[in-house]
């Protein structure tokens, strides 16, 4: 049933990031092409379709080689990958 989508956390302004992906799923991240070790979470936000700023983002919460966690999203509306850290 309908339920509040994730809440209780906010996001920094997104920054473009280089992502190597296969079938929409990230494999490497960053200019140094750090390998994606694991996908902790994956979610989709599609909103504001009634405005000029349509929001369609496929988010991934990744664990990169070396253990660093990173949240990236694929902008399905405008194209491109972005990094967006939670705080």
């Amino acid at each position: 049933m309908n339920a509040p989508p994730p809440s209780g956390f906010a996001l920094y302004r997104p920054r473009a990031v280089a992502v190597g992906a296969r079938e929409g799923t990230p494999i490497t991240v960053g200019d140094r092409r750090l390998r994606v070790e694991a996908i902790r979470e994956e979610w989709l936000i599609e909103d504001r379709w009634w405005t000029r700023e349509v929001l369609r983002r496929h988010y991934f919460e990744l664990v990169l080689e070396g253990g660093r966690c990173l949240t990236v999203f694929h902008d399905l509306a405008g194209g491109g990958w972005f990094e967006q850290r939670a705080f």
């Binding site: 049933m1 309908n2 989508p5 379709w49 009634w50």
Partner: protein, 1144 residues
């Protein structure tokens, strides 16, 4: 992966029957499931199985196995039930469970659980029966959110499979999501104790939200602890991804918010569509076993509503029913038929019918109907009181196909002798019927209001309930709901909602631009609205009650379909609408409230009161020449059925001469015969027969002559369709009835095509030529719109005759009855009153010393004449208590001598007195005579209001009103008289009637001198140019008229019918849709005694003067009523019959 992708079965899906939390119809889900190759699909709407029968029917036709279920709101252990309306997803203290039916006993349990979950949802419900207190704080009629007390699960768990609920609010997932793992385990163990390991599954969902993966890992761990399998579900909310925006907007509409404000409650993405099985397997790639489990469980869920409902007709268990029915019929047979020429035929029909009825096991059903009628008789005596006049009338009358049965005639269900009237039984009863025949009974409104709850009491809340109805989105409602969701300005929304065509499909964009301007109409949000409005078309918005359909059952109804309390106190509704009830084979009776039946009864009562005459309507002559003369001249305003604009256009051409002609007449002006092309052949052949009695009516095929001879070869009645299919194409009675049903369903195009081949092949086999077979089939198919069975038309034709008879012989009483039964019929009260005035009936305004609450007749002159006195009920905004107080005091201690007397004695509120004065109902009591010296009817409302201001004292004194003292009042100063226009305007504002003068009479001097009046039309030649002006009484754009619009204009002499062809309509669309007064330039058309004006150009008329600004200071609070300034006549004009509804 080990699992075959196709093993996924969707076990959690919502349709639009989750009411504003689902954006597809069950048949759309079923069709998509079939396309994707699903072997089965469950429908699990919120707290109901409203759409389950549609789901089952749709699936059956597509080879998909329907699974019945629900997503039930449950109050957590230790939490109270919701006591307030709640518009969010899940009320506080509650969680969701997904319940799926495995066995017939599981289905019964589901129905009971849903019934219990709704028991507290209306403030009026008495929870004592069910052992719970009524919800205390909710207002009586608000819909409180349904929820099941957790303790009830235990008693009704057998045969149900429980999935642990959705990702957001599910019993387990909701707790896991909030981090309450221990709470989740606790609830899990309780569910396990109730359902057992075979019937509990931990539900995993992937709505593609943040936290999906960790939540599902926790849930799988919990499943391991509980020792039950986890299962994957999709929580589908629409069949196609493209409906995601509509889902968002509907949810915002449900929460009465905007898309922005409801963001936390919306689903957040478009992931919950019905996805291909492989996609679902991919989404759950971490939990392949949970995917396999869907197919495994679905294999067990074999309950099918199409097959396993187990309904039996009430009375079918009575072994003596056949004998009792025979005895009941025999008891009346002699009285009805002895000594009549129909006796032998009636005897034969009776035996045949009783044989068919016994063979179908329906004898008990007919006895039950007789019992119902007895109950109705008791209620009627109670409601009508001691009135001897009304006591002569039967409590109700049959309509519809039951009128064709001799058994119904003898048991009192129908009042038409079917043998004498030559009615065909097949539609009502035949040996192949698969569902109970419908019996429709018409009742006067007041009898019906009491009868419905009484039936509930007699048969018990568990065995009787009303049928549900589902109002669906059409463009007007969609614009309002979805426009608000999009956050568009309310003013613009209203403008658009009022000016868009309710039924026009492809024109919303253009109408939008007209209403709010091209630029606005191109903005993102308005564009979004256009798309959403299209998508939402036909989706159910909420559940309500059918006006009078009831289902009865011998076994508790709540084992067959859940019942829920209706908004009206004491009434319960089943969760299925009439189509679903018919598919379930439920016995249903339609108890219809018919305004005209009430009006006819009121007339009979009033005639008895005013003249001391007793009228027995069943004995009035059916061949009164005066009545037919009036009908032929289309002088039928106010009578039943044949009063509409379209009927009046036809009467001078069809020239009905007897009750059989009237039977055809009421059936002719229906979409079925019109689209089937029956009207013109019928009129033409009738004309030729009049001119040449030897004229031979042509028939498409000799086999059709006996069937269509009454209607001169045209298909006018629904039962003729059945008979034609049987005679021409060799259909069996059951097949032909199937064809009729296919024609009457909401979405029937495909079903109907299947019959075409069968029809044509059958006809050719009977030696009919292909061309003839196809032509006749097209007539049959054209009929698909809507038509009356002959029996129904016979009942309606009789009522049309009776009401015309009353109109002709008892005009004032009949007008009173019509005015008292409003809203009803085609014309607003103002037009009814004007028409009566033109016939010489005096209609007087309301008066505190003369009027009752209702309109009554009063003696006029000394030759026994009667005038109509408007009731105080017509005074706009007057509280009923005030009206009754004024009357009671007058009856007790005599008429009021002056205003001071009225103010002191009547006990009416200050507001009430002002409204009365403003309605001219205190005329003559201020001691000052009418404002305009020359016109004694002008009234004295200004002086009255002024004096009342003194008499009634200060508006408020502390917390209460100051007492009025019966002191002599000073005479009102000289107040400026109301201008005639002001009088008309205030008459309309105060009573909705302008009795003293017609606005057009006031406009006439200002009009172009070339403007003709409706009285001039008889003298103007066919084809001559004409200008005519009038007040809009009706605007119509019939679906059957190819875009032609009709306007009915009224002036001081009568009505004029204006025909507007599409190009003219396009040029003047806004004016035609909104103007109260118009002037039309065009040409006169005269055809067979019918006069129309074919419009070429239209102009809106403005009122000729403007009121004096300072006068408004003493105008009363009536402004509150109309929401506008009284000076604005447009705001107070009576509601016109505007495109299918009464409204401005």
């Amino acid at each position: 992966m080990s699992n075959a992708p196709s093993s996924y079965v969707e076990l959690h899906a919502h349709s639009a029957f989750s009411f504003l939390d689902g954006a597809s119809l069950p048949e759309e889900l079923a069709a998509t499931a079939a396309r994707l190759g699903y072997e089965a699909i469950a429908l699990t709407d919120h707290d109901g199985i409203w759409g389950s029968m549609e789901h089952a029917q749709a699936c059956r036709g597509l080879g998909v196995r329907p699974i019945t279920g629900t997503e039930l709101t449950v109050a957590a252990p230790g939490f109270p039930l919701p006591s307030e309306p709640y518009r969010g997803n899940c009320p506080p203290g509650c969680f969701h469970l997904t319940l799926l039916v495995e066995t017939p006993s599981g289905y019964r349990n589901l129905c009971r659980l849903l019934t219990i979950a709704h028991a507290h949802t209306r403030g009026w419900t008495d929870r004592d029966e069910l052992g719970e207190p009524a919800a205390p704080s909710a207002r009586r009629h608000d819909l409180i959110h349904p929820a099941l007390p957790f303790s009830e699960l235990q008693r009704h768990s057998e045969g149900l499979v429980c999935l642990s609920g959705c990702a957001g609010d599910g019993a387990l997932a909701g707790r896991v999501r909030r981090g309450d793992h221990r709470g989740a385990e606790r609830i899990g163990r309780r569910l396990l104790a109730i359902f057992g390991p075979d019937h509990l599954r931990v539900e995993l969902q992937r709505p593609l939200w943040h936290g999906d993966r960790s939540r599902n890992r926790r849930l799988v761990e919990l499943a391991r602890i509980l020792g039950v399998p986890a299962i994957a579900t999709g929580n589908v909310h629409y069949h196609d991804r493209r409906r995601a925006p509509l889902q968002d907007a509907l949810l915002a509409a449900r929460m009465l918010g905007t898309l922005e404000s409801t963001e936390p409650h919306r689903r957040g993405n478009g992931a919950c569509f019905l996805a291909p099985a492989e996609r679902m397997a991919e989404r759950f790639s971490e939990h392949p076993d949970a995917v396999i489990e869907t197919g495994r469980l679905a294999q067990r869920l074999r309950f099918d509503l199409n097959r396993d409902l187990g309904y039996r007709y009430p009375g079918s268990e009575d072994p003596d029913a056949d004998r009792d029915l025979l005895a009941a019929c025999r008891a009346r047979f002699g009285e009805r038929y002895d000594g009549t020429p129909e006796r032998a035929e009636a005897e034969r029909r009776l035996e045949e019918e009783l044989r068919v009825i016994a063979g179908l096991g329906l004898s008990g059903f007919f006895l039950l109907h007789r019992d119902l009628l007895e109950l109705a008789r008791e209620v009627a005596v109670e409601v009508r009181g001691a009135s001897a006049a009304r006591a002569l009338l039967p409590p109700g009358r049959g309509r519809g196909s039951s009128v064709s049965s001799v058994v119904c005639y003898l048991t009192g269900l129908s009042h038409v002798d079917p043998v004498k009237a030559g009615l065909f039984l097949g539609r009502f009863l035949n040996e192949e019927i698969t569902e109970a025949p419908d019996i429709d009974l018409d009742f006067p409104r007041d009898v019906r209001e009491v009868l419905i709850p009484r039936i509930g009491e007699r048969y018990g809340a568990e065995r009787a309930a009303l049928v549900a109805a589902f109002p669906t989105y059409r463009s007007r409602g969609a614009v309002r709901d979805l426009g608000s969701a999009l956050g568009l300005p309310q003013g613009e929304i209203e403008r658009v909602a009022r000016s868009v065509d309710v039924y026009g499909s492809g024109e919303l964009e253009r109408e939008l631009a007209e209403a709010i301007g091209e630029r606005r109409a191109r903005s993102e949000r308005w564009l979004a609205l256009v798309g959403l409005a299209h998508e939402s078309r036909g989706l159910p918005r909420h559940a309500s009650q059918h006006p009078g359909g009831m289902v009865l059952s011998t076994s508790p109804l709540i084992d067959l379909c859940p019942t829920v309390p209706a908004a009206m106190e004491g009434r319960r509704i089943v969760q299925w609408d009439k189509d679903s009830c018919a598919d379930a084979g439920f016995l249903k009776i339609d108890l219809l409230g018919l305004g005209m039946l009430s009006a006819v009864e009121r007339t009979v009562d009033e005639v008895a009161r005013a003249r001391g005459e007793q009228i027995d309507l069943s004995r009035i002559p059916l061949d009164d020449p005066e009545v037919y003369a009036a009908i032929k001249r289309a002088e039928t305003t106010g009578v039943f059925q044949i009063e509409s604009r379209a009927q009046m256009q036809m009467l001078p051409r069809s020239l009905p001469e007897n009750i059989e002609d009237l039977t055809v007449q009421v059936a002719l002006v229906r979409p079925g015969p019109i689209q089937g092309g029956a009207v013109h052949p019928y009129l033409e052949r009738k004309r030729r027969l009049r001119e040449d009695p030897d004229y031979a009516v042509p028939y498409e095929h000799p086999s059709l002559e006996p069937i269509l001879s009454d209607t001169l070869g045209a298909i006018v009645f629904q039962d003729q369709v059945i008979q034609v299919a049987m005679a021409l194409a060799g259909f069996s009675a059951g097949e032909a009835e199937g064809l009729r049903r296919a024609m009457s369903r909401k979405r029937s195009a495909e079903a109907l095509d299947a019959y075409r081949e069968r029809f044509v092949t059958g006809a050719i086999a009977n030696g009919v030529e292909l061309e003839v077979a196809e032509r006749v089939y097209d007539q049959v198919k054209g009929f698909a719109g809507f038509g009356f069975p002959k029996s129904h038309a016979a009942a309606f034709g009789l009522l049309a005759y009776q009401s015309t008879w009353l109109r002709v012989h008892y005009g004032p009483e009949f007008l009173c009855a019509l005015l008292n039964e409003q809203p009803m019929g085609f014309y607003p009260p103002d037009a009814l009153a004007h028409e009566a005035q033109r016939r010489g009936i005096t209609v007087l305004g309301p008066h505190v010393n003369r009027s009752d609450v209702f309109c009554l007749t009063e003696p006029q002159g000394d030759r026994g004449g009667l005038a109509v006195r408007t009731g105080l009920g017509y005074v706009a905004g007057l509280a009923r208590a005030d009206a009754e107080a004024v009357m009671a005091e007058r009856r007790e201690r005599g008429p009021y001598v002056d205003l001071a007397d009225l103010a002191a004695r009547s006990g009416a509120s200050r507001d009430g007195l002002e409204r009365l004065a403003w309605a001219n109902a205190c005329s003559g009591l201020s001691g000052r005579l009418p404002d305009a010296n020359s016109d004694p009817t002008a009234g004295s409302r200004r002086a009255d209001l002024w004096s009342l201001g003194i008499a009634r004292g200060a508006r408020h004194f502390g917390s209460s009103e100051q007492l009025a003292l019966p002191l002599p009042l000073p005479e009102a100063p000289e107040l400026a008289p109301q201008t005639p226009w002001e009088r008309v305007t205030s008459d309309y504002a105060a009573t909705g009637l302008s009795l003293a003068m017609h606005p057009l009479a006031l406009m006439r001097p200002e009009l172009d001198p070339a403007t003709a009046s409706s009285a001039d039309l008889v003298r103007i030649a066919d084809g001559a140019p004409i200008t005519i002006a009038g007040m809009t009484v009706a605007r119509q754009r019939p679906a059957t008229a190819n875009g032609v619009v009709f306007m009915l204009l009224e002036d001081e002499w009568g009505m004029t019918n204006v025909v507007i062809l599409p190009p003219v309509y396009e040029r003047h669309r806004l004016l035609i849709r909104t103007a109260g007064f118009v002037s039309v330039v065009g040409r006169l058309e005269r055809r067979e005694g019918v006069v129309n004006v074919l419009a070429e150009h239209l102009v809106e008329l403005e009122r000729p003067d403007l009121p004096l600004a300072e006068v408004r200071q003493i105008e009363p609070a009536a402004e509150r009523e109309t929401g506008g300034r009284i000076a604005d006549l447009g705001a107070v004009l009576p509601a016109a019959h505007s495109f299918g509804r009464r409204g401005r």
